[in-house]
C-alpha cells in the first residue's frame, strides 16, 4: 500500500472538508460541534438516543442512492473519509423549512427541542426512502428518544408527510453513492486504514498485530466513548466490495459480513419469518444502517442478538486469514466470554446459511423495553419434521443464559424422533434447568433468565401447536 496520508476528506452539507489532524477515536459528532454545527447533540454517546443523528448518502442498488440516518456519535471521524454527509443545518437552505421540519414544528413535535434535530434527520431520511408511499413510517424514528412529548405529536408529524419534494435532495438520489476509496491515514502514531480487498486487509493485520478491525463501529465506538478504550490502528472494512455482496443460490444464502443489517433486509427478499421478526428487535434503525452481522459475531457478546437466530439457521462463518480461507459453524465460533475462534490476522468475510431453511423457526427476545433494548434472554428456535410428524432436526439457541451464545445440543437431541408436544416441551425444559447457569445482573435475575428460557420453549410450542399435532 501507499504511504499513509496526512489528511482525510469528505463531503459535508455539499462542501468538501478536509481533516488534517484527528485522533482515531474522535467522532463525527465531536467534529461537527467543534465547527459550530451544533444541531446534532450528544445525548448518550452510545447510539441509544439518536440526538446526534445525521444522514449519509449510501448505495441503494448499483446506480442510485439512499439517505441513511446514522448516529454521528458512533462514527469515528476517520471513517467519514469519502462519505457524503448531511446535517440538520443543511435542510432549511434559503430559510424555507424542509417538509420534515415544518411537520415537526406544526404538530407540536418539539418541547425542549434537544432531541428534535435527530428526529428531523431520521424523518428526512424516511421521507426520501425509495418505494415509500403514504405517510412516513413512524417506526423509522425508533432510533430517537424523546423525554418530553410522549411521541404522539411526532407520530402525527410522520404520518402527515407526503412524497419527498422535488429538488436537489431528491435529484441527488438518482446518482450513485460515493465510492469509498481506500484510505491510509496517519497522525503521529495513530493510523487508520481502509483497504480495498480482503488480501490487503489480511496484509495490514499481519503487519500490525495491534490493528483493530472496524465494521459498523456501533460497538467499538461505544467501547471508546464510554469506556475510554483506545487503539493505535483501526482497519475499516467498509471499502472491501467482496464483504458487501449478497447471494442466494439453490443451496445456500450468502451474506457479506460488512453489509449493514438494513441492507441485508433489503436484499434478502424471501427471508424467513424468523429473520423478519428478528430485524426490528435488533437495536434501532440508525444502528441497523451501520451495524453488520460480521461485527455482531466478532464482538461475541453473550447477549448479541445475531447468534441465536443465525445459529438456529445452522449458519457457517467464512473466515479469511494469512493461512487462507476456512469455514466455522457459528454455534462453535464462540469459545468463551467475548472470545472467538478467530485467530490473529483473520476476519469474517461472510455468513452462509444452508438450504433448505428450517420448516419452522422463530426468534424471541425478552427485554425490559420491547424495542431497542438489549436482551435479557433471546432465543433462536428451529424445528424440522418428517412426514410422520417426528422431529428430524432441532435447534435451540439462547442468548443471555451463559458467557457465550449457547446452543443446547442435549435438549435438541432429546426431541429427535419425537412429536412436538407438551411432554417434549417439558423434557427440553428440564434439560435447560440442568444445563443453563445464567447470571443475575441489571437485565434480570438468574432465576428469571432460566424461567424465561424454559417459558420461551413453551411459547414456541404453544404458538405452533396445531402444526405439531
Amino acid at each position: 500500500m501507499t504511504s499513509p496520508g496526512a489528511s482525510l476528506q469528505f463531503l459535508l452539507n455539499g462542501n468538501l472538508v478536509s481533516v488534517e489532524r484527528t485522533s482515531l477515536q474522535a467522532t463525527l459528532l465531536d467534529f461537527l460541534r467543534e465547527r459550530a454545527l451544533t444541531g446534532a447533540k450528544e445525548g448518550c454517546a452510545e447510539g441509544e438516543c439518536g440526538a446526534c443523528t445525521v444522514v449519509l448518502v449510501g448505495p441503494d442498488g448499483d446506480c442510485s442512492s439512499a439517505y441513511r440516518a446514522v448516529n454521528s456519535c458512533l462514527m469515528f471521524l476517520p471513517a467519514a473519509a469519502g462519505h457524503e454527509i448531511y446535517t440538520v443545518e443543511s435542510l432549511a437552505a434559503g430559510g424555507r423549512l424542509a417538509p420534515a421540519q415544518a411537520a415537526m414544528a406544526a404538530a407540536g413535535g418539539s418541547q425542549c427541542g434537544y432531541c428534535t434535530p435527530g428526529f428531523v434527520m431520521s424523518l428526512f431520511a424516511e421521507q426520501y426512502r425509495r418505494g415509500r408511499s403514504g405517510g412516513c413510517d413512524p417506526h423509522a424514528l425508533a432510533s430517537n428518544l424523546c423525554r418530553c412529548t410522549g411521541y404522539r405529536p411526532i407520530r402525527d408529524a410522520a404520518l402527515s408527510l407526503g412524497p419527498a419534494p422535488e429538488g436537489a435532495f431528491k435529484d441527488r438520489l438518482s446518482r450513485p453513492a460515493p465510492l469509498l476509496e481506500p484510505v491510509s491515514y496517519a497522525n503521529g502514531e495513530a493510523r487508520f486504514s481502509r483497504p480495498a480487498s480482503i488480501r490487503d486487509c489480511v496484509a495490514i493485520l499481519s503487519a500490525d498485530p495491534g490493528a483493530r478491525l472496524l465494521a459498523g463501529g456501533t460497538d467499538l465506538a461505544v467501547e471508546s466513548n464510554l469506556r475510554g478504550r483506545r487503539w493505535s490502528h483501526l482497519v475499516s472494512l467498509e471499502g472491501i466490495a467482496e464483504l458487501r455482496e449478497f447471494a442466494e443460490t439453490a443451496g445456500c444464502v450468502r451474506i457479506g459480513s460488512a453489509l449493514s443489517l438494513n441492507e441485508i433486509a433489503e436484499r434478502w427478499r424471501d427471508a424467513p419469518e424468523a429473520f423478519r421478526e428478528w430485524l426490528p428487535l435488533f437495536a434501532s434503525p440508525a444502528l441497523r444502517n451501520r451495524a453488520t452481522l460480521g461485527g455482531n459475531f466478532a464482538t461475541a457478546s453473550p447477549i448479541g442478538d445475531g447468534a441465536p437466530l443465525f445459529a438456529a439457521l445452522d449458519a457457517n462463518l467464512q473466515v479469511a486469514g494469512p493461512g487462507g480461507r476456512r469455514s466455522v459453524p457459528l454455534a462453535a465460533f464462540f469459545t468463551s466470554y467475548r472470545r472467538t475462534a478467530l485467530e490473529p490476522g483473520q476476519l469474517i468475510t461472510g455468513i452462509e446459511i444452508p438450504k433448505p431453511l428450517p420448516q419452522h423457526a422463530r426468534f424471541y427476545k425478552v427485554a425490559k423495553r420491547r424495542m431497542d433494548d438489549i436482551s435479557t434472554v433471546a432465543a433462536g428456535l428451529a424445528l424440522d419434521w418428517n412426514s410422520a410428524g417426528r422431529i428430524v432436526r432441532a435447534r435451540f439457541v439462547f442468548g443471555g443464559v451463559a458467557p457465550v451464545p449457547l446452543r443446547v445440543q442435549a435438549a435438541e437431541e432429546a426431541v429427535i424422533g419425537e412429536r412436538w408436544n407438551e411432554s417434549a416441551v417439558s423434557r427440553v425444559q428440564s434439560i435447560l434447568a440442568r444445563t443453563l447457569k445464567p447470571i443475575s445482573d441489571h437485565r434480570g435475575s438468574s432465576e428469571y433468565r432460566l424461567a424465561l428460557a424454559q417459558s420461551l420453549i413453551e411459547k414456541f410450542w404453544w404458538e405452533r401447536r396445531e402444526v405439531a399435532a
Binding site: R33, E34, T38, G39, K41, C44, E46, E89, L91, A92, L97, A100, Q101, A102, M104, A105, A106, G108, G109, S110, Q111, C112, G113, Y114, C115, T116, P117, V120, P138, H139, A142, L145, R147, C148, G150, Y151, R152, P153, R155, L226, G228, Y364, V366, A367, K368, R369, R370, M371, D372, I374, T376, D441, H442, R443, G444, Y448, S455, L456, K459, W462
Partner: protein
Amino acid sequence: MNIAGKAVPHESARGHVTGSALYTDDLAARFPGILHAWPVLAPHAHALVTRLDAAPALAEPAVCTVLTAADVPGEGDCGPNRHDEPLFPSEVMFHSQPVAWVLAETLETARCAAECVRVEYEPLPPILSIEQAIAAKSFHVGPVHLNRGDVSVIESSPLQFSGELAIGGQEHFYLETMAAIAWLDESGGIALESSTQHPSEVQEIVARVLGLPRHQVTVECLRMGGAFGGKEVQSNYYAALAALGAWKTRRPVRVRLPRALDMILTGKRHPFLARYSAGFALDGRLQGVRITLYSDGGWSLDLSEPVLWRALFHVDNTYLLPAAELTGYVCRTHKTSQTAFRGFGGPQGMVTIEEILDQAARRLSVPAEVIRERNFYREGDTTHYGQPVKDAGRIAVIWNQLKQSSKFESRRAEIARFNATHEHRKRGIAITPVKFGISFTATFFNQGGALVLIYRDGSVQVNHGGTEMGQGLHTKIGQVAAETLGLPLEAVRIMPTRTDKVPNTSATAASSSADLNGAAVLDACAQLKSRLAHVAAHQFGCGAASVRFENGRVFAAGEETRGLPFREVCDAAYRQRVGLFAQGYYRTPEIEFDYQTGRGRPFYYFAYGAAVSEVETDRFTGEYRLLRTDILQDAGDPLSPTVDRGQVEGGFLQGAGWLTIEELLWDPQGRLATAGASTYKLPSWSEVPEEFHVSFLENAAEPGAIFGGKAVGEPPLMLAISVREAIRDAVSAFGPGGVVTFASPATPERVFFAIRRAASEREAVAADAGAEHR
C-alpha cells in the same frame, strides 16, 4: 381572547427543527481557549480521603490545573439549605463522588489526567438501602407527622390489613445533560451560562463559593434540553465548579457531564418505602390509615424535606381520609442526593393510597373503580391537613365523563370475554384519578417577577423569572404579553432568563411558573398598556379606559377600522416622555401552612384529572403492551392547548416509564448499575399507547390563575398510575381474583413472577375445589 387560549406552536419550534436553538454547551465553540473539566471519582460509596496528590496530573502536558478545596476563596459548599454539600469532600458520601476536578485544554486530556491524580482513602461502611438506614436510624429528617382523627378506628374496622410497598426512583434523563460555562466579565465579575431551572440560586451559590456579593455574578439560561426537576438545585454544583475554575485560571471553563457521569453523579426521584395499615367498612369506605413513608434521600438533604411533605400531602389523592396517622422520614444513605422530579413526592404518596384501595377492592371482591369512587372527596370536604378541597365536585364529573367517553364498562366486559378465551395472554383495565396541589409548599417561593421593555418601533422584549425547559413557559408568556398588549405573537420576544433582568427569582418548578411569572408579566403589560392608552386617548380625544388594543393597532372606543398602529402610539409615548418599560410582580394570595400543627392551606388550587389504561400481559415472558389510554385533564381553560396537551401526553408517558420499565439498580458496592441509555430504559415508541385519547375538561376556568388556565406540568405524570393498576388487573386475571402485589416499577420480570404466583394460587384453589367434590 385572540391569542391566550389559542393553540400555537412552541415559541422555539423553528429553532428546534433547524438546530439553531442553542443550549448551554452549544456555546462552547464560541469561547476560544476554553478549558474542559473532568472529575476525579472516588471508588467507594463511603470513605475518608486521607491523601490527595494532584502533582502527577499537573505534570501531564495540556493540563491547566486541578481544582481542590484549597482553591475556594469563599465557602466550599453548594448545599442550598443546610450547607451540607462540600464541593471537595474530605469524606466521600456516595460512590464515584468527585473529590477533585481536572481542567485541561481538551476533554480527552482532562479525562486521562484525572486518572493520574493520586488519592488514598480509608473506606467506611456504607448505608445503601432504606432498610439499612432505618436499622441504623440514619435520617436527614423525621419523624414528621400529619394526623387527622382517631386511627384506632382501623382496629375496629371489619376489614383490616397492612402491608409494605417499595417504590423505585427514577432518573430524569433530560436529553441535555448538566452543563455550565463560566468566564470573567470585563469588570472582574463572573458570568455564567448554566443549564438550570434556578438561575438565582446558581448566582447565590457561585457568589457563596467565590466570596463575592451577588451583583458580581450574572447567570443566564438560554433554555434547557429538559430538566424535570433535575436541574432545580443540582445544577448549582456544576456551575460553581465552572465559576471556580474560571476564577482560578482566568480563562473560560466548560463543565459538561457525559451521560454516564450525569447518571452516576446527579440525584434522582426518591425511592420510597411505604408501610401501611388500613381499615375499611364492608361497603368499601375507608375508615382510617396509618402510613409511614421512608424516602431515600441519598447523601445530602437537597429538596428531600419538601418532597417528603408533598408525599404526605398527597397520600389522600382524591379520597377522604376520615382518620389518618401519617409519618415521614428522609433516610440518609450513601447514594446520589435525590432531588426534585416532576410530581415532587406526590406520585409516591398517591401510588401508596391506590395500592391500599386496590387491595381493599380485591379483598371485598368489588371492582377497584367502585371502591375508588366510593371514597371520593365531595364538595365541602377538607383534606387531612385541613384545606377545603376546592372544586371537589369535579372529581366525580371527570370520572363519569371519562368512564363514558372511554366506554369503560363495555370494555370491562370485552376484556372478561378475552380473558376467558386466552390462556396465556390476559388483559386488564383500570381507571385512576388525580388531585394535585398547586403552589410551592415553601410559601415564600410563590412570587414571580417580570421586566417588559417596549421599543419605539412597537417591538417588545419580555424578561421574566422563569426558565424554559421544554414545558412551553415562554410560549405561554408570549401569549400573555401579546394578548394583553393586543399584539401579534411575532411582536413579542421572550428573552433568555438572566439574573440581571429579574432578581431573586424562584426556581421554575412546582408547575407554577406560568401562574407566577405569567401574572407578573400581565402586571407589567397592564401598566404599559394603561400608559399607552392615555397617550392614544389624548390623540383620539376619548377616555383612556375605552381605548382598545388589537392586532397590533390601537383603537378609540367604538372604532372598528381606523386606529393607530401600535408602533406609532409607542413612538408618540416616547416623544411625550412616557416610560416604555415596566416591572411586574405577583405573589400568590391566600396560602399559608403551619408545619407545627400540620394545618393550613398550602395550595392555591388543585388540578384534577383521570385516566383509563388497558394493557395486555404475556404469561410466557411477563411482557406487556399498553393498548389504550384515555385521559381527561382539568387544565382550567387551557392557556396554550398545544403546549398543555404536550404536557399531559409527555407527563403521562414519563410516569408510565417510572412505574414500568425504568429501573434504577445499584450493585453491592453502591455503584449505579444502570448508568447509561443501554441499561436504563426510558419509554420509546413501543411504550406509547396504541390508542391514545387526551381531552380537557370544558368550562373549567380557574378564576385565580392566569387567563383561567391551570397548572399542567406535573399533574399528568400521576395519570400513569392507571397503567400500574391495569397491569395489576391483568395479572389478577391469571389467578383466582385475590390480592396481587408487586413492587414498583412493574418490570416484565416482576410481572412474570406475579403472574406465576397468581396462576399457582388459581391451581391451589382449583385443587381445593376438586378435593371438596371428592
